[in-house]
Symmetry: C2
Subunit: 339 residues, 2 copies
DNA sequence: TTGAAAGCGCTAACAG
DNA sequence: CTGTTAGCGCTTTCAA
């Protein structure tokens, strides 16, 4: 059916070894080479990557595990990773793990069976055991967006601490003193919160632990938590949501209560997703250099795949505060000033 | 390094044939079977899918080509497709084509070399030649979201015509008579527009061609077109954007002009993406049964892969109008009523 | 420069 | 029920 290397060899009057050599352009007599090339074209011959991988070559495909492809931020990363991978001649097989330890293990195992050349693990990856195993068998892996402080593994992420610090600083400079935080159960959130606390401390503000809450990321939970925050005797004048998706849920909850943004409540997100531009008001957020990060993970992984990497790296890129309309001076402060 | 079927055979004291049989659970003596299973576990043996595919079995991976993974609607589809594929034991290798004929051809060719079992092509696929070729060589293919009227190929999509019809009917029932449309250069848009026209006609309204514009999908272009529409001597009182992403750009453009939605202008989208809930006001849109569609494409494809499919199918699911806050009676009508 | 042949890990007759 | 053996399509020595 589909032509094989034998068909080409026969048609070109040479041995399959010769054909193989022109495929991998090694030394071949000019005449033979031309002949083979011509026949390959005629027969529309494409070498089977399966077969060549079986003999030890790469499959040129990368396993890309992420929490949920439907998440716009994740999807954008996936696209950037895909682009870079494509430039470097690799394909991606993408699997959503939903933070599920079972799925994580399952997919890694399955993709190993399919002989992917390496893995990119994006976002929080719960199954530390799996990572350890990968590391032990020297399977190339790079983490994206999160890192495991205790493991010697390549990773690329943004400086979450700094992002959190900048958000809080911005809010404080606007006069806010009661700043709540809604985070997720992930290292990145924890780092952002750590940055936030540091900023409060540096400015001599009191850190109030009950203003810091962790959600399970579902819109319902976020709305509930937002409600709780707002119902406090002294409610916050600003809420820092640890990512844009959370921020949107916050906005919806807030809007439902008829509270105006930013006059009565400032809101900040994180990630600078598409979403953040289309909310009303447009969301102040922290931009991650997605493209850069994604190029870097791919490059790092390929380096490891090609065996060129000397030592493990933790690459940390700097985030950038993007001020839009969801943050401002609180109404009460405005009165103060006009008095 | 990694254990092979030989290692298992030797360790279990049987032939590789026997091992192979237990892998594919065929008839094997109970004792041997147990022994082999035990050894497989001990050695943590996983059969190489490459090798087995080389002998004619499937790779259990599907090539999924789509326009742009960073598009939230597309990403959500990808996730649903992935889920179903996973349930059926398949993986996805995802490639973004950007509507680029070259990339389309390139990826299809590459994935064929990688021996994917079949293709899902989502959205407008420009390279008809490639589809024809796929069809000729009997490679399983299913189109998602778009269909090629002239080709005998499986496809799953929503009834775009009906969606457009419902949008227009809704708007008309609200009293709108000047309804503009912003579409894309794709069959789905054309169908939606056809539905829109039919509705106008059915209600005895005049169809004004200059109220119908096609954008290149970039936010800038959409904003420009929106401006043009609004600057007409008799501007529309409603705009039907052929998808949510377009609708958002329209909203941004409209908001910039200080026009209020829906009092002065109603806006409708299409797709019911996540985005449509978080805009302000929340967007009236048309919901596609994404999950259903995606399960169906996968099932259809796998049927073809397994050779069970008798005839080609074009599956058309019905859309559903979702009325939110971006549409309403125009201010002028309200006055009329109060007079 | 070229080709014969072994082998990658697995499946599938076919014998036994 | 089990094992032998011949491939699957390609790469890679090793001779010629």
């Amino acid at each position: 059916m589909k032509p094989t290397i034998y068909d080409v060899a026969k048609e070109a009057g040479v041995s399959i070894a010769t054909v193989s050599k022109v495929i991998n352009n090694q030394q071949v007599g000019k005449k033979s080479k031309e002949k083979v090339l011509k026949v390959m074209k005629e027969l529309n011959y494409k070498p089977s990557i399966l077969a060549s991988a079986l003999t030890g070559k790469r499959t040129s495909t990368i396993g890309f595990l992420l929490p949920d492809l439907a998440n716009p931020f994740v999807a954008e990363m996936a696209r950037r990773v895909e682009d870079r991978a494509h430039e470097r001649g690799f394909n991606l097989v993408i699997c959503s793990t939903d933070f599920d330890t079972q799925k994580e293990a399952f997919y890694v195992s399955l993709l190993k069976q399919k002989s992917v050349d390496g893995f990119i693990l994006a976002g929080r990856f719960n199954n530390e055991e799996v990572i350890t195993e990968l590391l032990e068998e020297q399977t190339p892996v790079v983490l994206l967006t999160e890192s495991y402080p205790s493991l010697s593994v390549n990773s690329v992420k943004v400086d979450d601490f700094m992002g959190g610090y900048e958000v809080a600083s911005h809010l404080i400079s606007l006069g806010h003193e009661k700043i709540a935080v809604i985070g997720e159960d992930a290292n990145s959130s924890r780092e952002r919160i750590r940055g936030y606390k540091q900023a409060l401390q540096d400015k001599g503000l009191e850190i109030c632990e009950e203003m810091i809450v962790i959600s399970d990321s579902s819109p319902e939970d976020v709305e509930r938590l937002t409600g709780q925050l707002l119902d406090k005797s002294i409610p916050p004048t600003a809420i820092f949501a640890c990512n844009d998706l959370l921020a949107i849920s916050v906005i919806l909850a807030v809007r439902e209560r008829g509270i105006s943004i930013p006059d009565e409540l400032s809101i900040v997100g994180f990630d600078n997703t598409l979403l953040s531009r289309s909310t009303d008001p447009p969301l102040t957020t922290v931009g991650q250099p997605i493209q850069d990060m994604c190029s870097k993970v791919v490059d790092l992984l390929i380096e490891e795949i090609e065996g060129k990497s000397k030592t493990k790296q933790r690459i940390v890129l700097l985030p950038k505060l993007i001020i839009r309309k969801s943050t401002g001076v609180h109404r009460s402060k405005i009165k103060d000033q006009s008095n």
